[in-house]
Symmetry: C2
Subunit: 312 residues, 2 copies
């Protein structure tokens, strides 16, 4: 059994590779919901959807997000009548959000809905939200522009403001009262390998760790946890992970990631470009494995997955 801690696109790519080298039903992905949002009355779970679409082979490989063969009829009509257009919702993607919102309104848990949606999409791996309770990443802007609140919801920072503004601090609203979703702690306890996917350490993995009990469970399995650095040669391959690390006082490097993860990650897989950092990482008590980590296609992602499994 393999457990993966997953954010969005980076995790989705690695998992799509992983399920080509192991039995998909042996994989449980514990997915960040800190960047979930309510928009137009819909409950949107971007990371759950990114992972689901990738594992279903429905991910849009051209854009890196959303659904393949997507159409935009609703979004275009919404824009034409003056609706909020900053968060792009394709027609195929909207069906997911309508389904989820209806089922939640009927009393289903996010775990249950996620199981239904992945089954409907033919995904054989187990996707589990980190929690069935709402945990929301809130971002305090260092220099809020005129008209913006100082603290904004994650997607306002990430999408609406284009993650272009410096961040002063973050918090995971609701985390104290949240519980790990059913099966999360059991899966971590029973896993042969726990993969920390190459997701944003601050806003993708951070919210998962904020759910009481999960970090504790990971620390107990530290020798089975393999992280993949999302920072390569000091840069995030995608998104603002490098800037966020710096803005919040960390080093934007594989070494900075190792320092953050050292308490619960026994082995860190870093890119060949960062081989020179291996010694410093090992000095933290973190085993370091060097491999190509840039997933330009599913074959490279499968190779990375093999390297991760081989690291234990």
């Amino acid at each position: 059994m393999i457990v993966a801690l997953a954010g969005g696109v980076g995790a989705a790519k690695l998992l799509a590779g992983l399920v080509t080298v192991v039995d998909p039903s042996d994989v449980t992905a514990v997915v960040n919901t800190g960047d979930d949002l309510e928009l137009h009355g819909l409950h949107i779970s971007p990371d759950i959807d990114s992972v689901t679409y990738a594992l279903a082979g429905l991910d849009n490989k051209a854009t890196g997000w959303g659904v393949v063969d997507e159409t935009w009829t609703v979004a275009e009509n919404l824009k034409a009548i003056g609706g909020a257009a900053w968060f792009q919702l394709g027609d195929r993607d909207l069906a997911t959000h309508l389904f989820r919102t209806q089922r939640l309104s009927e009393g289903a848990s996010l775990s249950e809905v996620t199981a239904e949606l992945t089954a409907a999409r033919g995904v054989r791996s187990h996707l589990v939200p980190m929690s069935d309770q709402p945990v929301r990443t809130r971002v305090t802007l260092a220099e809020p522009p005129p008209g913006e609140e100082r603290e904004v919801a994650f997607q306002d920072y990430f999408v609406r403001l284009g993650h272009a503004l410096p961040v002063a601090s973050l918090r995971f609203s609701g985390a104290e009262a949240a519980r790990p979703a059913p099966g999360v702690l059991e899966a971590i306890a029973a896993a042969g390998v726990v993969i920390c996917c190459p997701s944003n350490p601050i806003v993708s993995i951070g919210p998962i760790l904020s759910v009481p009990g999960i970090l504790h469970a990971l620390v107990a399995r530290r020798d089975r946890v393999v992280g993949v650095s999302p920072i390569v040669a000091g840069t995030a391959l995608r998104g603002p992970a490098d800037r966020l690390l710096r803005e919040l006082g960390h080093e934007a490097s594989a070494l900075g990631v190792a320092r953050l993860y050292a308490p619960w990650v026994g082995t860190l897989l870093i890119d060949e470009a960062d081989e020179s950092l291996a010694g410093a990482i090992e000095a933290l008590g973190v085993r370091c494995v060097v491999a190509p980590t840039v997933m330009t296609d599913t074959a490279r992602a499968a190779d990375l997955a093999k390297a991760v499994l081989g690291a234990i």
Copy 2:
């Protein structure tokens, strides 16, 4: 100034004709919201939308409901993943529901959202929901089939169950606490003519009358109120109005409508097919005008609108 009490399709047709013979900005439609529903997290106002689309020239004249040139990408995808598909939501129509739900979630009233949506669609007439508070038509089934609640929401009766089941009773949940939307009472008080559109007396006009204050305002203007019978030769042109009238102890005829409306409708316009009922209607103290009422196209609807205005 003309005020129209409006349900869905019948009202939409008459109003589309009316605005070709008077200045559209002189028309205020007070629209039923008793059949509003929450589905997939979206606030759907079928009657407001039917009237808006008709006045915007966007109504689908082939089907009699929904938007012209509609596409069904979201609905098809939703069905494919097992979502509730009984209430058909086209892509263009969905944009309306997303807009409305988002604005309501931001604290806008249904009146405000309706004004925004009609403005965005280029509608010059004033559309006002009967109330900004939720009033919901609830239907008690005479013989609920296995697995159904005895009392169901209106759209469950009307769409999901195809209005094929006999009705024991109705109530308008929330009506006691509702207030007429801003401007409704003032518009009725100031109107030169109040048109009661050929909508279902029970489930389209009934909810409007259930909002405290509206019936009182109409009674005070009885001599200015012109109703159009939605029953022609004992039959509803569309929908279950005839069966509902019978099931709830009324006569399914223009005379039955006249009896229901007599306290507040001074003049009733009935179809030529019902000319023989004119004497009995007049005997109720309701002036009776006979005219063609079947609106097969906008020109016929305009003729009917002229007949209504000429009846005062």
